[in-house]
């Protein structure tokens, strides 16, 4: 099997696996990064969003071969307990979730948004998160948290 190389959370990574396997499956079962969640398996819910290059994409229907030589960021690469990303701090500050299963995917969609638009409007945030589903109804808190993170990043 061909070895696929990419950068994962800033670290050069090699995977020797069937290139048609999904990126989500590789992240979770091969690389032990379980922060990215399975929701539907068909790119409809956003629970498995990761950033590839500059865009948030569904990792469940992204084949491994397609990320060769790309930069991938998962929720584990966004920040850590010691150095949380402003989005992670803002989600805690706004208590912006109920169950939290969808949150890693939402954080990645939001992080991709803030990279291309540092000062989004509320409508920009809603549009950027529209491919992510939340069943608990924490949407408005999440939108507030993203706006708060944007403000933090602008003022620091």
């Amino acid at each position: 099997m061909p070895v696929i190389r990419f950068r994962l959370n800033g670290v050069a990574t090699e995977v020797d696996a069937d290139p048609n396997r999904s990126l989500l499956d590789i992240l979770r079962s091969r690389l032990g990064l379980t922060g990215t969640h399975f929701g539907c398996g068909s790119g409809e819910c956003g629970a498995c969003h990761v950033i590839v290059g500059e865009h948030a994409v569904s990792s469940c229907d992204t084949p491994l071969w397609s990320v060769a030589d790309k930069d991938i960021t998962t929720v584990e690469g966004l920040g850590s307990a010691e150095r949380p990303h402003p989005l992670q701090r803002a989600f805690i500050a706004e208590q912006a979730l109920q169950c939290g299963y969808c949150v890693p995917g939402i954080l990645m969609s939001a992080a991709a948004l803030l990279k291309r638009n540092a000062r989004p409007t509320e409508d920009d945030v809603r549009a950027a998160l529209d491919r992510n589903l939340c069943r608990c109804g924490s949407h408005n808190r999440m939108v507030r948290a993203v706006l708060r993170a944007a403000e933090d990043m602008a003022s620091s």
């Binding site: 379980t34 539907c40 929720v75």
Partner: protein, 707 residues
């Protein structure tokens, strides 16, 4: 003060041993073991607040123990917005007694009267720098003793944490992507299982060719027992490949017919039923009726549609099995597992791990049995089983469809003289562990199957099921409330948030609105005129003030109000919806006022109310389980859409804090009032009364045509 003999809270009376609730660990921690579980509602944090307050320890020292049949108190099921009420009161009472016991021992040890002692962060101090602590004394004190009534929890004014919006304990892990969910739990040498389920409803498995599945690298076993079939493999990818191969080879015998999804009322009303009179009231001085009006309301089957598919892990050790699950009731699940697996309950340990948001009896229990059955073929290794999205959307229990007829006798002034409310619905509960037969899906599929459970309704004393919230809180002079429970169940139903309350309140509050409109009376004033309960009046007045009821009429915009007290005994909630309507309905803003008595964690309560309001908006505008004559067709997010970020209304919540009143839950308080408020706002905007949920372009058109 009351002179009545003090009694223990129900959960503590059922599980009186103090050590089953509270333990002091040598490292300066306090372990608190509730029987209730975290299902995304933040309960664990609220319970930690209560314990920290009552024991006078920093909340950072509290370690919340996950429920397990190995050690936890048995608190039944985490449902019905009862966790604060049941677990919260038990923990408060148990901790109050533990505190008193330790103060007694400390007093002996230090030679000071207990009243001279204070506790700060677990350190017990007296005059002249003498001190000890819970942890120093822990070895001398056995908490393996039964709770006794009489220990008095602290007065409200001395509680430092209750009533404060403490940050939830689980949120940091969840935003950092740390493994916290059952889905992310990896046990050593864990295998992966998948189960084969029919597309056609209740079709029986006939032929199965295993060769291709067996050839998948990493294959471990195929399991078949009647119509139950599944695979175990070394990896998830292999299990997916093997189950796909099995699916391709499977042949099925005819299933069972499903009703007409476009005529649910006709179906519900044509079935054999068990009928119950839920309540009656007779006026001593009946007024003369001038006329009778009648309307019929329906709601469809609604899916739980959790963002995560259900998941479980099981591991056999000889004739004993350990099951990890996101079930709402570890003991109840254990009871049914024992029935199906035909082993004694004490050979089974059921342990809770968090799943995604849970809104009632979903497939969590079903997948736990799947895992236990598949793990039999795993040679003692743990097997993790996860359902597919399609199975999650089609095979788990749904919230039951309902048809509700309301009839009112009006006098010459259009005042209500008599009220009749009639419900046709399947039962709203078929939870495991409640009957002599198991209620788990695979149990119905085995070679020697158990009969399929027909859902029943909890008794009125527990809030009822289909009849939940059907008895009006309004002071009508007379009423008759009747419920017809179906004795057939082609579509599997069980508990979904609010049970029948959403349907009943939608019907009651819509019908009241019709009468108020006919009278030309403001619907809010009309309600207040029929309500004598002061807490009910308060939430309605508060929401009216907050939303500036009633804003001036504006073309294309409508406003509606809805009110209920959940279960007629729980939280009071009133909602005002602002919508925009043309051929589609957009809910712009929801304003709510809520009274849960003492709000332990105010932000947690508001979070629950906001979430309930948004989920209800999704139910009302979008949700309906779809099916044709032989299969459930809404098996994906495309076919079962839910509300998206761009469609979510603003939600503004006013919390009426009543620190002296026993707390009740918040998770289900908003759904019914919001449903009614949106429907009434649609009428205000378009002059069209939609009586069949969901309110979509199609149902609007149908309502317009009906006139």
């Amino acid at each position: 003060m009351s002179n009545a003999t003090p009694q223990l809270p129900v959960s503590l009376a059922a599980n009186p041993k103090l050590s089953s609730w509270v333990k002091f660990a040598p490292d300066g921690e306090v372990a608190i073991s509730p029987g209730k579980v975290e299902i995304g509602q933040g309960i664990v944090t609220a319970l930690a607040q209560i314990a920290a307050d009552e024991l006078d320890v920093d909340i950072g020292r509290i370690r919340m123990v996950r429920a397990s049949t190995a050690s936890s108190p048995n608190e039944g099921v985490t449902s019905g917005s009862l966790s604060i009420q049941q677990s919260g009161r038990a923990i408060r009472q148990a901790c109050a007694e533990v505190r008193r016991i330790f103060l007694g021992i400390a007093s002996d040890r230090l030679g000071v009267d207990p009243t001279a002692l204070t506790i700060e962060d677990g350190t017990i101090s007296g005059p002249g720098n003498i001190s000890t602590s819970y942890w120093e004394l822990a070895e001398e004190v056995s908490l393996d003793r039964d709770a006794t009534p009489g220990a008095e929890p602290k007065p409200v004014a001395q509680r430092a944490l209750a009533g404060r919006s403490v940050e939830r304990l689980d949120i940091p892990d969840k935003v950092l992507g740390k493994p916290r969910f059952i889905h992310d739990t990896a046990l050593s040498s864990m295998l992966h299982g998948r189960v084969l389920r029919p597309e056609r409803s209740r079709a029986k498995l006939d032929g199965l060719t295993e060769d291709v599945a067996r050839a998948v690298p990493g294959f471990v076993a195929v399991i078949r027992d009647g119509s139950f079939a599944g695979v175990v493999c070394e990896t998830e990818a292999a299990a997916e490949a093997a189950i796909a191969a099995l699916r391709k080879s499977a042949t099925w015998l005819a299933g069972e017919a499903l009703p007409d999804e476009n005529n649910l009322a006709a179906f519900l009303k044509a079935q054999p039923v068990e009928s119950t009179v839920v309540g009656t009231r007779t006026s001593p001085n009946p007024r003369r009726k001038a006329r009778t009006i009648r309307s019929q309301f329906t709601r469809p089957y609604i899916a739980h549609a959790s963002i995560a598919p259900s998941c479980a892990i099981a591991q056999w050790n000889g004739d004993r099995v350990h099951v990890w699950t996101h079930s709402q009731g570890v003991y109840l699940l254990r009871t049914d597992l024992a029935l199906v697996l035909k082993i004694p309950v004490d050979h089974i340990t059921v342990e809770h791990l968090e799943g995604a948001g849970c809104y009632g009896h979903n497939a969590a229990d079903d997948v736990a049995l799947d895992a236990a059955l598949l793990a039999k073929a795993a040679g003692g290794k743990p097997v993790r089983v996860q359902w597919s999205r399609a199975d999650e959307m089609t095979h788990g229990p749904f919230g039951a469809a309902m048809a509700i007829e309301i009839e009112a006798d009006l006098d010459a002034d259009n005042e209500i003289v008599a009220w009749r409310h009639t419900i046709w619905s399947n039962g709203h509960a078929a939870r495991p562990g409640r009957a002599s037969q198991p209620a788990l899906l695979a149990g119905f599929e085995l070679e020697h199957p158990f009969p399929r459970t027909i859902s029943s309704n909890p008794p009125q004393a527990n809030g009822g099921g289909a009849d939940r919230n059907s008895i009006p809180l309004y002071d009508f002079p007379s009423w008759t409330i009747e419920s017809h429970r179906l004795l057939t169940m082609p579509v599997r139903t069980s508990a979904l948030r609010t049970l029948g309350a959403q349907g009943n309140v939608f019907a009651i509050e819509s019908f009241l609105d019709e009468i108020a409109a006919e009278r030309g009376e403001d619907p809010l004033i009309f309600r207040l005129r029929h309500l004598s309960d002061e807490r009910a009046r308060d939430v309605i007045r508060s929401v009216a003030k907050r939303a500036n009821w009633k804003p001036a009429a504006k073309a294309g915009t409508g406003y509606g109000v809805g009110f209920a007290r959940y279960k007629n005994t729980g939280a009071y909630c009133a909602a005002i919806a602002e919508i925009e309507g043309d051929e589609d309905i957009r809910v712009r803003k929801l304003t709510l006022a809520v009274d849960v008595g003492e709000a332990i964690n105010p932000d947690g309560v508001i979070n629950q109310i906001e979430g309930g309001a948004i989920q209800a908006t999704s139910w009302v505008l979008k949700e309906r389980v779809r099916f044709d004559s032989e299969r459930i067709t809404s098996n994906s997010w495309t076919d079962y859409p839910i509300l998206r970020f761009s469609e979510v209304p603003r939600v503004d919540v006013e919390l009426i804090q009543r620190s002296e009143t026993d707390p009740v839950g918040a998770g289900e308080a908003a759904h019914a009032p919001v449903t009614a408020a949106i429907a009434n706002a649609v009428f205000d905007c378009l002059g069209v009364r939609v009586r069949d949920l969901p309110i979509t372009r199609d149902s609007l058109l149908a309502a317009m045509e009906r006139g």
